[in-house]
Amino acid sequence: MSPTAGVIVRFVALLGLMLTNGVVMIYMLRKVLGRLHIRYGPIHVGWHGTLQTVNDVLKLLTKEDITPSAVDRWLYRLAPALVFVPSLVAYAALPFSPDLAAVQLDTGLLFTFAVLSIVPIGILVAGWASSNKWSLLGGMRAAAQQIAYEVPLLLSVLPIVMIAGTASLGGIVAYQEGTFLGVVPHWFIFNPLGLASFAIFAVAALVELNQTPFDMSEADSELVAGFATEYSAMKFGLLFLSEFSNQFVLSALGVTLFFGGWMLPWISAEAVSSVPGLPVAVFMLKAYAGIAVMMWIRGTFPRVRIDQLMQLGWKRLIPAALALVLVAGVIHKAVL
């Protein structure tokens, strides 16, 4: 296969995965939230409402695409792409199995975070270009919270990189093979330092994703739909899809960094990877379990205030993450 064809195949595969994820996750969100609220969720279209999201996608595709007259036309059209493309690119370095990743990057972790940090810029552009006060407020909030929480998010994974000695996602998974003393899997979540960094990672990831309880940027009750207020049809669809796709990416990152990626506990990596398709299935299952937990949190907690959020970020999480990096560095050099 020529290199160009290979790139195209990977691109189409990732795009397909992203769109499928979006459709599945929106259905899952409705069902999970419904059940958490003792409701049914969608039940009408298809078996148990499974075709509801497909129906909604078709609706979004065929809807009138309205461009309000006061918007900044260029930026208004650019913003959905600016939000969507990084979300898609962020899939590139994820290790779905020992040898299945769109690109094998030595700096996969850094690459993924760097790409994801472009998303808030797109959201800010969307909020600004809409020339709507709610959009602008939503965009500003998104930029403020996502930029503030990128710092603890990145710092929280530094101990992992230090211990594993690599920033390649595949390498970090490979490091987690085996068990401590033959009992506990050698995953970072079972390591005290890893657990501490997971606590920071989880909170920062939820903020980064604009997930309830940190969804101030689209707070429906205050800002209509935040930065997406003026968007309709598939432009809105792209903004919406990218949000869900980011959720998958961060869940997959969490799985990769803390829960042993595609590996199963107490089973050697070779045994897992010798069964075709099993590593990918394990990885997807773990990622979706992470998403389910996020939805669980989403269905439980009320939204926090923006100033509380910023205080938590700057006054608590960043110092905590810095302290963690310090402690991890000392322990790593002195003990291990």
Partner: protein
């Protein structure tokens, strides 16, 4: 302990998840209404199908929303003919005062709660239209030999 409330919240929603939905799939499943539920006002009838309403106007005067109306013709022999017993259901608050006050037990609060209409004119209904109002005389005549002991004087 700090954070205990968060964990408790998660515990509660998880319990809800395992309880399963309690929602009633409304158009397909319907709950039985409580016996004294008050919905649209409806007229009552004798067994022969004639209305029990005597067109005494008590309900019309009582209604706090002024939504009941009676167009009545009084004939020479003092019997009454109801042209239209109007009921603007769109403005009715189902308070039930008209039913409380009716001296002849001629109207009731029904259990009809699916009251949506697609046309505003549907919100102004006629409870009775172009019928003779009930009267002791006529009732006696209709029920033939079997006389009502109370009205027999």
């Amino acid at each position: 302990m700090w954070g205990a409330g968060l964990v408790n919240g998660l515990r509660i929603t998880l319990r809800n998840l395992r309880r399963g939905p309690i929602a009633v799939k409304y158009p397909y499943e319907k709950l039985e209404l409580p016996e004294r539920a008050r919905w649209a006002v409806r007229p009552k009838y004798f067994e022969d199908g004639s209305p029990k309403c005597t067109a005494c106007m008590t309900c019309v005067r009582t209604c706090p929303d002024h939504i009941l109306s009676l167009d009545v013709e009084t004939r020479e022999d003092k019997t009454k003919h109801i042209d239209r017993f109007g009921y603007e259901i769109g403005a009715c608050m189902m308070c039930g005062l008209c039913v409380e006050v009716c001296p002849f037990d001629a109207i009731r609060m029904s259990h009809e709660y699916e009251l949506a209409v697609t046309d505003v004119s549907g919100l102004d209904e006629a409870l009775l239209e172009d019928v003779d109002a009930a009267s002791a005389q006529r009732h006696r005549a209709a029920s033939d030999g079997t006389k009502d002991p109370e009205s027999d004087d």
